[in-house]
Amino acid sequence: MKKVININFQGRVVPIEETAYDMLKQYIDSLQQYFAAEEGSDEIINDIEGRIAELFSETLKKGSTCITDADVEAIINSMGRPADFEADEINVQAKVENESQKNKEEYSRKESQMPPPPHRLYRDENDKVIAGVCAGLANYFNLDRVVIRVLFVIFFGALFIPYLILWIVVPSTATTAIGSFRKRLYRDPDNSMIGGVCSGLAHYFNINVWIPRVLFLLPFITFLFKWSHIGPWSFPSLINFSFSPGAAIIYIILWIAIPEAKSTSEKLEMKGEKIDVNSIKSTIQQDLSGVKDRAKKFGEEVKERAQEIGATISERSSAIGREAASSARKTGGGLGRVIILLFKIFAYFVVACIIISLVIALLSIGVLFAGFLPYKIYILQDGWQTVFLWGTLLLFIWVPVIGIITWIIRRLAKTKNHSAFMTYTFIALWTLGWASLILLISSVSRDLSARNTPIEQTIPLSNPTVQKLEIRNDSKNDDFITGRNWNFRPFSNFDQDTLFVKNINIRIVKAENDSFSVRMLKVSNGASREQANMLANKISYPMYQKDTFLLLGRGIAITPSDKFRNQQIFLTIAVPVGKRILINDEVERNGSFQVGINDFGYYRWRVGEDGKYDWDDDVEYIMTENGLKPVYPDMDDDIHEPSLPTGPKSDSVYRYQQPTQKTDSLKKVSASRKEKETNSKWDFSTIVMQRFLI
């Protein structure tokens, strides 16, 4: 029992079985696809439809009540399927002699006996032991297949996986025969939203189009699910959004790399034979049948070759005296081939490593740059510098990344025609990128070329005679924004229009009197000394004493108009003998005290008067005649440093005075051990000034 429907076909009502209709529709769709690229394709389809309609009415006239599956099938057979058109144009002789099947086979055999074109790697169907990978490689590199096979056997462990991959990925020469269309990745122009990449992928993997589309869109949507928390508010993390252009870049690369399916055969290749586990399995099964025989053959071949080589060697040794030249050339050829092969493999390996590391390096620079973009206005001037920055970012970094990845994909996809135009475009763009990079660097370094005249000023302390000074962050300003995955130091603190740079170096020296004192040295670079002086004067770094705490500000405020010109602060804290100092570990954690663009970077805040101290955070130190000593030299600092409440409390002062007296004896013991003479008159600012003037 079959359902019969009426269709309006070429202006006539045709009763047709539903299944027959489906078949017909599919057939006409395939014709449309086939003739899509042809001029006047509508007319051709129309003519064919007209002919089909005519055949239908003939059938109906003969007394059939409706068009059946068999009718449609007969018509399709007489009209021919798109795949037959190709064969028809080629295999006419075969058809005339009514031996099409036989001839086709013979033809394909002949075809595959011809060496495949050298620019494409095929698995050799005719001379295979397992899957023809080695023979294919040998053809490709124009080498003796025995050499490659022996290499594969020797390095079985290492080359096993590559062999499997090549087996699956590399097409067999059998696929170059007529009739079977190897599936290849194309962009589908008929079913595209942007470039047809997604629908091409869908065809290739035989999945629904929406799957790759959603996958490509996903990174653009995910920012909705990532939330940034600032204070009590949450909002979609737009920063993450703007930093995840990965999908777009991949799309663009694929767009460039994958050829568009223009011709019919390309379209058929695009939709070609399903590649799934079953087809891979059947290929492998086909290949494996007869492995034994072929392996035997291979063994004989190796034996022969070994005998041959042995013969050549013996021949050579016997002929050393007489005909050195000609026989040496003979064996030298065989030996040279192996050496060349090894050299080639090595070269390919090196090239692959270089390319991969280049791509990774460029990618990371690109990501770094992307992270740097929000800070752009604090460093670069508007106008040319910004242009150079974008030029560097887009042309110097992303162009080669896209270029190399495109090249790799084109190599993997075995795209035939190398477009010289594209190569030159890439090279030209990259040259522009180099130019922007050089101009950017020179322009920025000009802005940083001059230094200011350093002047040290004393910071007044409200109560310089406390027993202990603890340095910690001003907790009011502790909320700051950093990216989750990147932290572009020293720019840790970042307000809407102000950047807080913690380019701060702390130095502890011995005080000459019995009270704490703090001196601040401001330094800055600039395009000229005047500008550097101006910028240094503009540095305002808030810090104040509250009880025993010395509270440090958030950082040096940088505004877009003043720019970051490596402004730095050197804080010199003078500690009187017998008094203590402690640097809270969050001081360092919440900002960097290490980064300087010039050679100031190495001055970590632990610098003491005689050079460097091995300083620990959250450890109390006491100033002795011979320099700083830890208060509890033998004990774990965690035990003696209970976690402090965030706000400074006055009881903590008393709590900490107790151990002070207890450890006075310890201090004396360690003091007596000290023999090194320290230069207490060491003037830090002169050293800094010297560095500035170098």
Binding site: Q10, G11, R12, L31, F35, E38, E39, G40, E43, I44, D47, I48, G50, R51, A53, E54, L55, F56, S57, E58, K61, S78, M79, G80, R81, P82, D84, F85, D88, E89, I90, N91, V92, K95, V96, K110, E111, I178
Partner: protein, 127 residues
């Protein structure tokens, strides 16, 4: 050298020539053309014929008129234009030339070839 390409090129030219020669004798309906070619033992699929006709028509070599049919939709009957006639005559001349040339060349028997004799004689001289 791609044999597929060569064969398809060979056949394409001949197919057009054959179709034109059928139409030259008078108006023709595509399925008649297929029948006539089949009778001459030159098989062609209708699906191959229609695009060829369209191409020839678009090139101005053929023209067509609609003829009402009692068995289905109106039929397209193709006939030759002036340009098509000129085209056909040129093809015919070329075909004759080619056929003669090919026949002459393929009839040459291998033993009369002087090249092979010299080749086989060289190794003998060495020994």
């Amino acid at each position: 050298m791609d044999i597929q390409n060569t064969q398809s090129q060979m056949r394409k030219g001949v197919l057009e020539f054959c179709i034109l020669s059928i139409i030259r004798h008078g108006e023709a309906y595509p399925s008649d053309i297929v029948e006539k070619m089949k009778a001459a033992n030159l098989h062609i699929l209708e699906g191959t014929l229609y695009p060829l006709l369209t191409r020839l028509k678009n090139a101005g070599l053929l023209t067509y008129r609609w003829v009402e049919s009692n068995s289905g939709p109106p039929r397209k009957y193709f006939s030759m234009t002036e340009a098509g006639l000129g085209f056909y005559e040129k093809l015919e001349a070329t075909w004759e030339e080619l056929a003669n040339a090919v026949k002459t060349l393929t009839d040459i028997t291998p033993e009369t070839s002087p090249i092979e004799n010299t080749e086989t004689s060289t190794p003998n001289n060495n020994q």
